[in-house]
């Protein structure tokens, strides 16, 4: 009898044990966060995975280059009836319900989540310390880049450093805190990332010490901490890792990919699918019509054209595609439904043009998906140095770097863009701002340059810009609804 009882009991116990196993069914062929990352290989894969989202269409200002369109550099583009919601950005008529703004906001937080995953999970892996620190440094750079864009665009934002336990309070962290986080993240990156030249060629595209320094310099410039901005910009310049490509036009070309002036760039392959390596950034702005390279958005404005022409700037040719041009053997005829020239009261207000900086040789729209987005360039850092040094009164040094940019732009053409010699701070700052426009047009910098230097109301007022409202984007209405009203909206919205 006793034997029976023990036997029965054992059966019950073992039933209970195998019961648990029986009901455990992790998905087949797929990893879950319970078992990944574990090995050194996992750590590398997780870091690689974090770069993928940089090729997401909405990573670049929600899909359409809305910051360029808001600035005086560009108009909406495409034909007049297309994408009415984007027209709202050109006219400063947009509001918190914009899907593009929501897309930008959610995608930047997705970048943060993917990099948080690496930052929080990789430290626990047993592996070579140098490699581990490098991988974490890469993830921290990516996170810093996301917070940099978030706070520039939206002001105060919620800080999330660990997505495993996100606070349910919707309190927004002040901009200063976000800037501090960026500084902290980039400090670690600078200390632990190799220089560009220390990477094998097969790893080009990964975050580098120089990239972290450059981003930190830009961050300090926003904070108006010119001392630190100048310091880090100079560290980049003096590292000897970067030089200016002698031909401005080559900077954005296929042959100029990962060129001497490339500080941080996202690689891409010519496939119209992100899963296969493509990036739709260039396709959105590609020539519309004949050849059919894309949708034709982000059209260089008549104002930009006039600006270039007033300075006789050779960079006009490399920035703007005009109808009738022949590029790499392809004649640009444009879109039949878009007027070649638009007049208002007899004056030209728009000409059908396209962004040449995203041109990829070829005739199909799929080939445009190969374009690498240049996120940080050496010329930008040279001008950051110039601006910071000027603010500090170190105008002689500033001139050196400013003139390096002009010299490259001038190239063989001795008559234009002469060296600047003035040491008057105010004058120099104006010149540098203009130089930034000429050098970095259509690259998403102009709008923010105007806002952070306080010139936005003056320059963009005529276009509809309202002070104390349009300097930052509204928090997306969907997010406020999702929070049940807890998430605060930006002032002015």
């Amino acid at each position: 009898m006793k034997k029976h009882i023990i036997f029965g009991f054992t059966i019950l116990l073992s039933l209970g044990a195998c019961e648990e196993d029986f009901l455990e069914n992790p998905p087949e062929g797929q990893l879950t966060n319970a078992v990944f990352p574990v090995t050194v290989q996992d750590a590398i894969l997780a870091t690689n995975g974090a770069y993928n989202i940089l090729r997401d269409w909405r990573f670049n200002s929600g899909g359409f280059p809305m910051f360029d369109i808001m600035s005086d550099d560009a108009k909406k583009g495409s034909n007049p009836g297309d994408a009415a919601p984007i027209q709202l950005f050109e006219d400063f008529d947009y509001d918190a319900s914009s899907g593009n703004i929501h897309g930008y906001y959610t995608t930047l937080y997705e970048v943060i989540r993917k990099s948080n995953f690496v930052i929080n999970q990789v430290p626990a892996i047993q592996m070579d310390q140098d490699l581990q620190s490098r991988l974490i440094g890469e993830a921290l750079f990516i996170r810093a880049l996301a917070y940099f864009r978030l706070t520039n665009a939206f002001g105060d934002v919620i800080i999330v450093t660990n997505n495993e336990n996100v606070s349910l309070s919707f309190e927004r962290n002040p901009r200063s805190e976000v800037r501090s986080l960026i500084i902290e993240d980039l400090q670690f990156a600078i200390d632990n990332l190799p220089e560009k030249s220390e990477y094998p060629e097969s790893e080009l595209g990964r975050a580098t010490k120089g990239a972290a320094r450059a981003l930190l310099a830009k961050n300090y410039l926003w904070m108006e901490n010119y001392e630190m901005a100048a310091q880090y910009a100079l560290e980049v310049i003096n590292s000897g890792q970067y030089t200016l490509d002698p031909a401005y036009g080559n900077v954005f070309s296929k042959s100029g990919e990962f060129g001497p002036g490339s500080i941080f760039e996202t690689g891409a392959l010519p496939f119209s699918s992100p899963d296969r390596g493509g990036n739709q950034y260039a396709n959105t702005q590609g020539v519309r019509g004949t050849p059919n390279r894309g949708w034709g958005f982000n059209r260089p404005s008549w104002d930009l054209i006039q600006f270039y022409r007033s300075r006789n700037d050779p960079r006009e040719d490399e920035t703007i595609i005009y109808l009738g041009e022949v590029l790499d053997g392809v004649t640009i005829l444009g879109d039949p439904t878009t007027p070649d020239t638009t007049y208002e009261d007899g004056i030209i207000v728009q000409v059908e043009t396209y962004n040449e900086k995203v041109w990829v040789p070829g005739t199909t729209s799929e080939e445009q998906w190969e374009h690498n987005v240049r996120i940080i360039r050496y010329a930008d850092i040279l001008l950051v140095a110039a601006e910071a040094l000027t603010q500090l009164g170190r105008t002689e040094e500033a001139l050196t770097y400013l003139n390096m940019v002009r010299e490259r732009a001038r190239s063989n053409n001795e008559e234009t863009l002469p060296d600047i010699t003035t040491t008057n701070q105010e004058e120099l700052l104006d010149i540098i701002l203009a130089e930034r426009r000429a050098e970095l047009a259509m690259e998403g910098e102009r709008f923010f340059d105007l806002v952070r230097t306080g010139r936005a109301a003056e320059v963009l007022g005529p276009l509809g810009y309202q002070e104390n409202q349009h300097d930052i984007l509204p928090i997306p209405q969907n997010e406020i609804d999702l929070s049940g009203g807890e998430l605060a909206q930006n002032q002015g919205w």
């Binding site: 998905p27 993928n52 090729r55 995608t107 990919e257």
Partner: protein, 995 residues
């Protein structure tokens, strides 16, 4: 004259004598008597009195008296009457025989299949409906569920379309979830999601369990109701051989009214004057005529053999079901074999198996219905030289010609069991059930070029292979105790189940030859090969459960049932893996109470009330996990794709069961010895924790547009069910009539307040970017949402007098300014109706007179709406429905049909496209003739029946379409007609022979 009078009397007497001599010579023995009720002593009129061995008989009169001439004093008389036990009385030389008949108790001792066992019908406390297998054979269909339409109160069966072999949508008591709302099917102890592999003729009975008390024993999967199917077993008696053959045709019941050639040409001329100057020479093609077959054959052949010897019983059946569709290249052929045997090697042990093996081939229909609907009637199908003419928007005949899409496979399902009885009252049963299926879908697209929009430059082959391996192991212990006043049944059980599925898709292009022999991966270009898993495959889910039930009956009057089930599912996270589902029910057989014993007309009155909780776990199993997915990066110069892995959207480890709490109160009644009987029920079902995808706050980082599944929504379904039946017999004539109906009041009562958002779900996609349904609190699931049309703007004045969209012109639809703000905007959209019917009903009758029988079943629905998606999807100048003849033009300003346009205002989601979904149809009409026994006995045949049958003989509905039955398995997007395959009328002739 005295002599004539005497003579007359003499003649009279002689005649009388002669007459009585004559009588005595032929019918020697007269029997008379009275028939009374054994219990009440009252006379029974209408009782059949039959002389055994002959067809001679009579009927008792109003006083219960009868008079019959027997052939000999040794004959027997058979007394029969509905509701009473038949008595056969030998005459034994008696001229006067008074007999009493007792109420047929066996009717009330009839058993009903309930979950994990059987129960006496009188003891049942839950809401259970039974349908005999024979009734199901009245509808000629591949899927036995089709035959249940209009037969069970509370069960709504809707066809998705008329495609051969397609499963109908089955809903029991409304819709209680946003996800899979299909009921659980239990066949011979094995669980299925659909029963399209089952041959209707193998079904003995179907029980539908509707309330919590009856379904709670199935715990986790009973929330949508349970349908138990019992297949035939060997019965007592001699070997029984049956052969059946049925052959018939299907035809289109009703066409869609479209513009013909001249009407279309005139309309085009209206839009673009002068386009067609000579309308008479243009072709006039009726595309529905061209595309649809006039008569498509349907056949059903059946052979079954069953028999019993002392220790073995067997039932073997083979069936072939062949249905061609009225759309060319669509068909469903199924061959099945059934083997239900049981063995009793020892007196206390029974072993057995119920197996089905099925082979099926299905030709999937080309998507040609919507093309035929839209094609220009002024285009001919072929050119002068016989090529396909480039018809706008596509040539339907070419679509058919170049279409190749076939499913084929094998399926076997069933169970093996062993049952032992011991200590008299205990019974232990262990059964292992399984379901294995292999299905292959082949699609081949050849090279063709009919027009620039209808061409395929490169041929391609796509093959999808699905493999299903399910098993279940159940162990139950029953204890039954019978004492004079008490009847007690106890049940305890333990079950384990595994469902495993894998689906792989292969694709290749550029096959060297297009002949079917070359539809193989060796024949194509290897560089184009794609090999991938389809959807969530492979996946495996498991279930482990404990179940308990108690049934108690006291004094045959007071009933109690209580059950409890604990289910653990692998689909839910550790925190909520187990769900617990209790239920309780009480019943009171009022008819057995003393205070009602005087009410002799009352034969049955039972009140029952039940409450319980049941669960639903029909979700994909992945939602609880935070998956890591491959996301590549591009590095290096030259640039290369580099492997990467990163988290996908976060999982929800707190996912748990959807729970439905269901209450039911019902009354079963029977009068006049159950000649009049029926049921009345009121049900109330609250489903909560419904799984619904919700957006999460952006800073959680799940990405733009991503939603996570939460248990967050609540739905309520309530309503009434009623059945009324009458049956009677008068001599050779017997008949029965039945009426049933059910109502559903469906409302969403809660939605996603957990994360403070999502007051509605948008669905009902038409495929052109428009969505026409919404689901939100206070409305039925998936209600139609759009602008409410008030009419058409007659002219500019009318336009100025009412708010309208910016680009509205005279002739456009006038939308209601619902919020009264003087503008028409997205806020003026409103509720336009629901696809869930308010009332579903059925009416049936059966007549039998001697050898002839006639039976019919009518069914219908009221109070539902459908969306005319086929009319609403317009992307170019295409054919219109015939109502466009009366469209608005400057010469025809007063009309409700707007002007002809291709897009814009008149094609926004609006009530223009919402139609009444009500219908009434004669679902089946059968006229049968049973050959008289005299003709059959020589051939050794027991029964032979010849019958003529019609299904969907006529339909009444108010809609210009093939049918209003356009249900869908997606409960959020149902009731939308996007060009549905027509449901045909079916006419067959059949013969059933039994040996």
């Amino acid at each position: 004259m005295r002599t004539p009078r005497l003579f007359a009397i003499f003649v009279f007497i002689v005649t009388l004598q002669l007459h009585s001599i004559k009588i005595k010579a032929q019918d020697e023995f007269l029997v008379t008597g009275q028939v009374t009720d054994a219990t009440t002593g009252e006379a029974l009129p209408g009782v059949n009195v039959l002389l055994v061995g002959t067809s001679q008989g009579t009927v008792t009169d109003l006083d219960g008296n009868y008079s019959i001439d027997a052939n000999s004093p040794l004959d027997s008389l058979k007394f029969s009457f509905i509701g009473y036990t038949t008595e056969v009385i030998p005459i034994n030389n008696r001229n006067s025989i008074d007999i009493t008949l007792s109420t047929d108790v066996t009717e009330l001792q009839e058993v009903v299949v309930v979950g994990y066992g059987v129960q006496r019908k009188s003891d049942v406390t839950g809401s259970v409906a039974s349908v005999e297998g024979e009734e199901l054979t009245n509808v000629v269909a591949a899927n036995p569920m089709q035959a249940l339409q209009g037969r069970v109160a509370g069960v709504q069966i809707s066809s998705q379309s008329g495609t051969p072999g397609e499963d109908p949508v089955v809903r029991i008591r409304g819709v209680g979830t946003f996800n899979d709302a299909a009921p659980l099917f239990v066949v011979d102890g094995m669980f299925f999601d659909n029963i399209n592999f089952l041959n209707t003729q193998d079904i003995q009975s179907i029980e539908v369990l509707k309330d919590a008390s009856s379904t709670a024993i199935y715990g986790s999967r009973g929330a949508n109701g349970v349908i138990i199917i019992t297949t035939k077993k060997a019965t007592e008696g001699e070997t029984d051989i049956r052969i059946g053959a049925e052959y018939g045709y299907q035809t289109l019941q009703q066409r869609i009214d479209l513009l013909n050639g001249p009407q279309f040409a005139r309309l085009v001329n209206d839009i673009n004057p002068g386009t067609y100057n000579n309308i008479d020479i243009l072709p006039n093609t009726d595309w529905q005529d061209q595309v649809l077959e006039d008569l498509a054959p349907i056949q059903n052949y059946q052979l079954s053999i069953s028999g019993r010897s002392e220790n073995i019983g067997y039932y073997i059946s083979g069936n072939a079901f062949l249905q061609e569709g009225i759309v060319p290249k669509s068909a469903f052929n199924r061959y099945s074999l059934k083997l239900n045997n049981f063995y009793q090697p020892l007196s206390f042990l029974e072993l057995g198996h119920n197996l089905t093996v099925t082979r099926f081939v299905r030709d999937n229909a080309p998507g040609v219905i919507s093309t035929a609907y839209r094609a220009w009637p002024i285009h001919a199908p072929y050119t002068d030289v016989g090529d396909f003419f480039p018809v706008q928007p596509a040539n339907p005949m070419a679509t058919i010609n170049y279409h190749n899409n076939q499913d084929q496979g094998w399926r076997t399902a069933g169970n093996f069991y062993a049952e032992a009885t011991f200590l008299e009252q205990f019974r232990f049963k262990s059964s292992w059930g399984y379901n294995f299926e292999n299905r292959e879908n082949t699609v081949f697209n050849p090279v063709f070029s009919v027009s620039p929009i209808q061409e395929n430059p490169e041929n391609d082959l796509s093959v999808q292979n699905l493999e299903v391996r399910d098993w279940v192991w159940e162990n139950t212990l029953h204890y039954d105790l019978e004492l004079p006043d008490h009847r007690l049944g106890l049940l305890a059980g333990f079950t384990m189940q595994e469902n495993r599925q894998n689906e792989v898709r292969q694709f290749i292009e550029s096959l060297v030859r297009e002949d079917p022999r070359f539809w193989n991966f060796k024949a194509g270009d290897p560089s184009t090969v794609v090999l991938e898993n389809v959807g969530d495959a492979p996946f495996k889910s498991t279930l482990l459960s404990y179940l308990f039930r108690v049934n108690y009956t006291w004094q045959e009057k007071y009933l109690l049932t209580a059950s409890f089930r604990a289910d653990g599912s692998s689909k839910f996270g550790e925190n909520n893996r187990y769900g617990y589902f209790p239920s309780a029910a009480l019943g009171w057989r009022l008819s057995e109470e003393a205070f009602l014993s005087d009410f002799s007309q009352l034969s049955n009155l039972k009140l029952r009330i039940s409450w319980g909780q049941i669960g639903n776990q029909k979700i994909p199993g992945r939602e609880q996990f935070s998956l890591i997915v491959p996301r590549e990066s591009v590095f290096g110069q030259p640039e290369e794709l580099v492997q990467g892995l990163t988290p996908d959207r976060t999982g929800n480890p707190d996912l748990k069961w959807e729970t439905t709490t269901s209450s039911n109160i019902g009354l079963e009644y029977g009068f006049f010895s159950n000649r009049l009987f029926g049921e009345l029920d009121y049900y109330y079902r609250e489903s909560s924790d419904i799984l619904v995808p919700l957006y999460t706050p952006g800073h959680f980082g799940n990405g733009f547009g991503t939603r996570i599944t939460f248990n967050a929504a609540d739905v309520r379904n309530s309503g009434f069910e009623f059945t009324v039946n009458w049956r009677d017999e008068k001599g050779d004539f017997s008949y029965s009539v039945g009426l049933l109906g059910s109502t559903v009041n469906n409302e969403v009562t809660g939605m996603g307040s957990a994360t403070g958002n999502n007051s509605f779900l948008i669905s009902g996609s038409l495929g052109n970017g428009q969505t026409v349904t919404r689901t939100q609190v206070g409305k039925p699931i998936g209600y139609f949402y759009g602008y409410n049309v008030l009419g058409v703007f007659e002219d500019e004045n009318a336009l100025d007098g009412y708010p309208h969209l910016d680009n509205a012109e005279p002739g456009d639809l006038k939308f209601e300014d619902v919020n009264g703000d003087g503008e028409i905007s997205a806020e003026d959209r409103t509720s336009l109706g629901s696809y869930i019917p308010d009332l579903s009903y059925g009416f049936n009758f059966n007549l039998k007179y001697k050898q002839v029988d006639i039976s019919a079943n009518f069914t219908g629905q009221m109070g539902s709406e459908i969306y005319n998606g086929k009319n609403a999807v317009r992307f170019d100048l295409l054919n219109y429905e015939s109502d466009m003849i009366n469209r608005w033009t400057p010469n025809n300003r007063t009309t409700s049909i707007p002007r002809a346009t291709q897009a814009g205002i008149n094609y926004l989601p609006s009530s223009r496209f919402v139609h009444d979904g009500s219908f009434f149809k004669l679902q089946t009409l059968t006229i049968g003739f049973n050959l008289p026994p005299e003709f059959l006995q020589d051939a050794g045949i027991n029964t032979a029946r010849l019958y003529l049958r019609g299904n969907n003989v006529f339909q009444l509905f108010d809609y210009n379409g093939y049918t209003t039955e356009v249900a869908s398995n997606d409960v959020l997007s149902s009731g939308i007609d996007l060009g549905v395959y027509p449901i045909p009328a079916i006419y067959t002739l059949g013969l059933n022979v039994g040996f």
